[in-house]
Symmetry: C2
Subunit: 255 residues, 2 copies
């Protein structure tokens, strides 16, 4: 690598041993130097959470390669840690994934994978999260490789708009059955029946997170529609929750 | 209370024993019946995280009142739990707070208080998060009461737009010095120097989350500007990360 080789910081939420991460690192190394800073355990569902109540530790993972680290914090912590203390220079790109399971539609809100991407975006770096619509341990991440390679290549060639990151979701299909890439908006959807009640052996109740994802008739410009029709969905995202259209609408409240 | 009294579900991220929560419950009870489902510990910084890897437990807290519960999950878990299993009917309003410390600007991204609000919003309920710009244990939450009471009253009178929630931040001022309420957008800002490195007694490094909030020259329509000028900021928010303006801009990537 020349000194001008792009630097790519990589994380995920499934943990440093995930095969999805391994695939992403493998692809990224075709484009430049990598620093990996990934959670030391499964950190799914951690959203943009950060660790405020205890200190963080980092461990080198030399068996995985140089500049490969695990951290006992959240995915967003990992991004902060990588950017501030382990990248030898500011990275050209921050990647997260490849995640087991969809982060399309409202799943982005809960996703640690996308929490990491939004963190990098806030910190001023171009960032992309990749997820595949499969939770199976046998997930074929190599089927994602052409799409992932293409998107990384294009975003290194031409920068993303300042402050915009990408949420990329990939259908669970063989590579040659993926029809293309659609730029989309986040679909409106909901999770219902989220908490299942059970009773422990001594009669006390407890609840498991579960639920059904409900997205009837997704809009044709939405990520769920693209995915259901065999396309990779790319949603440009930014960490701004403001409902701009509502600013005028709520004037009637006479606050 | 008549059977038609409004039902208000209340949570926070500082935990069920917080004085800010106590103040919010006290005010909410002027308007209707309440169910409290709050984390059993300080859950600051937990964002929209949900608990997927272990079951959840709930404990009644009769010393705090009827229908007052603590849960060992995140603020978003508490909302799901309250809505699905502990509210006797669908609530008319979901409240979160009053939080110790600002959730204005990008702090919303990390906030468990606002994670709870966004969860309620996704689930289809009107929701408001309240925060005061003070981390002091001596915070005078009664100074927030007139603003909180006014905003709850107005949103019960006239519904929020479907899918829109409110992020309310209150300056640290005596009630009679608060100049009014501004409807705002989320200010652009960043946190720098987030992780401070230290060395433990046996020479190993560890890092504490810290950082400086940087928001130079906030836009006059932003929450940070309103707060800096003595106003309560109200930002209408929705859990949609799509950067709609970027959908056209990224066509040049030829994805």
């Amino acid at each position: 690598m020349t000194p001008k080789s792009p630097l790519i910081l990589i994380t995920n939420d499934d943990g440093y041993q995930s095969r999805g991460l391994e695939q992403l690192v493998h692809i990224a190394q075709e484009f430049g130097d990598t620093v990996v800073m990934a959670p030391d355990r499964n950190s799914s569902g951690l959203s943009s959470s950060i660790t405020c109540t205890r200190p963080l530790r980092v461990r080198a993972v030399p068996e995985k390669g140089d500049n490969y680290f695990s951290c006992d914090g959240t995915p967003a912590d990992c991004v902060k840690m990588g950017l501030e203390h382990f990248c030898p220079r500011p990275p050209d790109l921050v990647l997260s994934g490849i995640n087991y399971g969809s982060n399309a539609s409202i799943n982005i809100l809960y996703s640690g994978t996308m929490g990491a991407v939004l963190e990098a975006c806030l910190d001023g770096f171009p960032a992309i999260g990749f997820s595949v619509l499969s939770h199976s341990p046998e997930t074929d991440f190599s089927a994602c490789a052409p799409s992932v390679r293409h998107i990384i290549s294009k975003t290194l060639e031409q920068p993303l708009p300042q402050g915009t990151a990408l949420n990329v979701n990939i259908p669970r299909l063989p590579a040659d059955q993926i029809k293309g890439i659609h730029i989309c908006h986040q679909a409106h959807a909901s999770w219902v029946d989220s908490l299942e009640k059970r009773t422990d052996p001594i009669g006390r109740p407890y609840w498991w997170m579960t639920g059904k994802f409900v997205c009837p008739n997704p809009n044709e410009q939405s990520d769920e529609y693209a995915l259901a029709h065999g396309y990779v969905s790319v949603v440009p995202v930014r960490p701004d929750f403001t409902d701009y259209a509502a600013i005028d609408k709520i004037q009637h409240l006479s606050l």
